[in-house]
């Protein structure tokens, strides 16, 4: 479960490397992320129905095998089309495995209620862990290793399920049980979709800000975003202290929105300032995802179908978040790049360095900015060679610092509206959470 749900976000930190290796566009490479989530959203409920029909053991085993095979294809892809197609197949296998797992869990953990809690917590932790794991693997080995490593993990997870699958093949599935499907918990699933959109933005945009905006390495960014899953673990400890799922969902949504609000208002381009917002988002996502998932599953049968609805809602939210916020973000970064170029040029022009050098520097810096296709460049080379005169060199170095500050401002500010919108989405999730009070004694 965690492996599959981590997969929805695991490639976030690998996107820049995939983009370079497969020589594609920024808009196209985001489909490596979107395609997986879209297919998960569409396939989760049908996959759960199939799992009910063929038996959860067999569905999970086949699902994991498909997931592993498609993972291998992803790792061996040498073009974007193959990679996206393989990701779609991977999502099909993942949907079958995740929904079937919910039917298998009660036998392992003792009860349906406990199974729902474990399933929801694994999902929240997996989603939060994904980017950090992906970033570390990308930096230490390659982006392909993210997918290749999933192959043995998925196969290893399938081994104990094979015994269940064999048992199902021998005993068959009870037909009357297949017909008992209640209506999905609409409000909890709508809230899940909205919160998931906000969380996807938090993970995706923060990673982009760290790597593309502030020029951190994938492993550096991975270490930074590890704060979020650590906070999610803390949140999962807080959850059991309050039994009201509605209160946990509301508190979680507020924390996610507060964290995103903090990211929208970063007062400086410093990694340490992303930590408090990440702690809030991490604790919040753990509280809200598990509370809403438990609510959507609570007292409903069959669990796999309703689990399928939650998976569908979560991944639909991720897709909506990415599709809605990417254009906002892209437009903002283009505007901010122009503003940063102009602000940087103004800094150069108003500096006391030699006018001839000024105009040359302004052009070199603009060339570097334009050549970086929206990323914030390291300005060092634009200032090389430094003047030999000590006084002039000091002036140029000071200028370089001021200029880098303007670029950092531009890069950071470019993300603000998208983080702000994501925060708003998180807050809007409070509406279905609040409304559900009238419908349920306990959401």
């Amino acid at each position: 479960m965690g492996l599959v749900l981590a997969d929805s976000s695991v490639v976030v930190l690998a996107l820049p490397d995939i983009y370079r290796d497969l020589d594609t566009s920024v808009a196209a490479v985001t489909w490596v992320l979107i395609s997986f989530n879209l297919v998960m959203a569409l396939a989760a409920v049908p996959a759960a129905m199939i799992a009910r029909r063929v038996g959860p053991g067999r569905a999970a085993a086949v699902g994991l095998a498909i997931f592993a095979g498609a993972g291998l294809a992803c790792g061996l892809s040498d073009n974007l089309t193959t990679l996206i197609l393989a990701r779609c197949v991977q999502a099909l296998g993942g949907a079958a495995a995740v929904t079937a797992a919910l039917e298998l869990l009660p036998a392992t953990v003792g009860s349906e209620k406990r199974a729902a809690v474990v399933w929801a917590t694994a999902g929240a932790t997996g989603a939060a862990l994904g980017p950090a794991v992906g970033g570390i693997l990308t930096q230490l080995i390659s982006w392909q290793s993210i997918f290749l490593l999933q192959v043995p993990l998925a196969l290893a997870a399938a081994v104990p399920i094979l015994a269940v699958a064999r048992h199902e093949a021998a005993t068959g599935i009870l037909e009357p049980e297949l017909r008992r499907t209640g209506r999905p918990h609409l409000l909890a699933n709508i809230a899940l979709a909205m919160v998931s959109a906000a969380i996807a933005a938090a993970l995706f945009l923060l990673v982009l800000l760290l790597i593309e905006g502030w020029r951190l390495s994938p492993i550096g960014a991975a270490i930074v975003v590890t704060v979020m899953p650590l906070a999610a673990i803390l949140g999962s400890r807080l959850g059991p202290l309050v039994s009201s799922a509605r209160a946990r969902a509301a508190a979680g949504a507020i924390l996610v929105s507060g964290g995103l609000g903090g990211l929208a208002l970063l007062p400086k381009a410093e990694v340490v300032l992303t930590l408090p917002p990440q702690i809030l988002v991490g604790i919040g996502l753990s509280l809200v995802l598990s509370a809403l998932t438990e609510t959507a599953l609570g007292g409903r049968a069959p669990q796999a179908i309703h689990g399928g609805w939650t998976i569908s809602a979560r991944h639909a939210g991720v897709v909506i978040g990415l599709l809605a916020l990417t254009p906002v973000f892209t437009a903002d970064i283009a505007q901010q790049r122009d503003d940063a170029i102009n602000a940087g040029t103004a800094v150069i022009l108003d500096s006391p360095v030699n006018p001839l050098l000024k105009i040359e520097l302004a052009q070199r810096v603009a060339d570097r900015l334009e050549g970086e296709d929206g990323k914030v460049p390291t300005l060092g080379p634009a200032f090389e060679p430094l003047p030999s005169d000590a006084g002039e060199r000091a002036e140029v170095e000071e200028l370089r610092g001021e200029l880098q500050d303007q670029l950092n401002r531009g890069a950071t500010h470019a993300f603000s509206p998208s983080f702000g919108l994501a925060a708003l989405l998180g807050l809007l999730a409070l509406i279905p959470i609040g409304l559900s009070r009238k419908r349920d004694v306990e959401l």
Binding site: S244, A251, L266, P267, K268, L349, L356, K358, E360, A362
Partner: protein
């Protein structure tokens, strides 16, 4: 603690934590952390402490850029980048649809504004400003660009041209 109270404490704690973070970042200037806005080139820009040939040349170039940018309706910064190399100038011309004649006219207007600004700031004597103004009004494009890029050499050249007048220019400059 009752279950109801624990639920309320959790929600209240979340609200407080969220407000505290957003409030702290707002107080630290989070809403204004953005690239500085560039100034309208048509607005007058005061000359900063223009003393000596080097400083005057700096301010002269900036005033000329402002004047030319104002005339063309572009930012001073975009024009400065355009004047760096012939290729940059070509890109600029294409982007804004400005031909050489229009550019020359604008730069000459910018140079006139620079002479006026220098005179107003007391950095250039009216005795020198008059002929300089007449000269820049007719200067060819390449020389006009060179004058913006390197006003110091031009002003220094003027000093050399004056020859026997020796330190005359220095007397005219503050």
């Amino acid at each position: 603690m009752s279950e109801k109270l624990r639920a309320r404490v959790l929600v209240a704690g979340a609200i407080l934590a969220a407000l505290a973070l957003v409030g702290a970042y707002l107080a630290a200037g989070g809403s204004s952390y953005a690239p500085e806005k560039t100034q309208d080139p048509c607005k007058p820009r005061p000359w900063r402490n223009p003393q000596g040939l080097e400083e005057i040349a700096q301010q002269f170039s900036l005033s000329a850029l402002d004047g030319a940018a104002c005339k063309l309706g572009v930012s001073r910064e975009a024009l400065a980048r355009a004047l760096a190399t012939p290729e940059a100038r070509e890109r600029f011309s294409k982007k804004y649809g400005i031909d050489d004649a229009k550019l020359a006219q604008a730069i000459r207007a910018g140079l006139v504004r620079a002479v006026n600004d220098a005179e107003k700031a007391g950095a250039l004597s009216p005795l020198l400003a008059g002929p300089l103004r007449t000269t820049v009004e007719q200067i060819p494009l390449d020389q006009a660009i060179e004058l913006v890029r390197d006003a110091r050499s031009a002003l220094g050249g003027l000093q050399t041209f004056l020859g026997p007048a020796g330190g005359f220019l220095e007397e005219l400059l503050p």
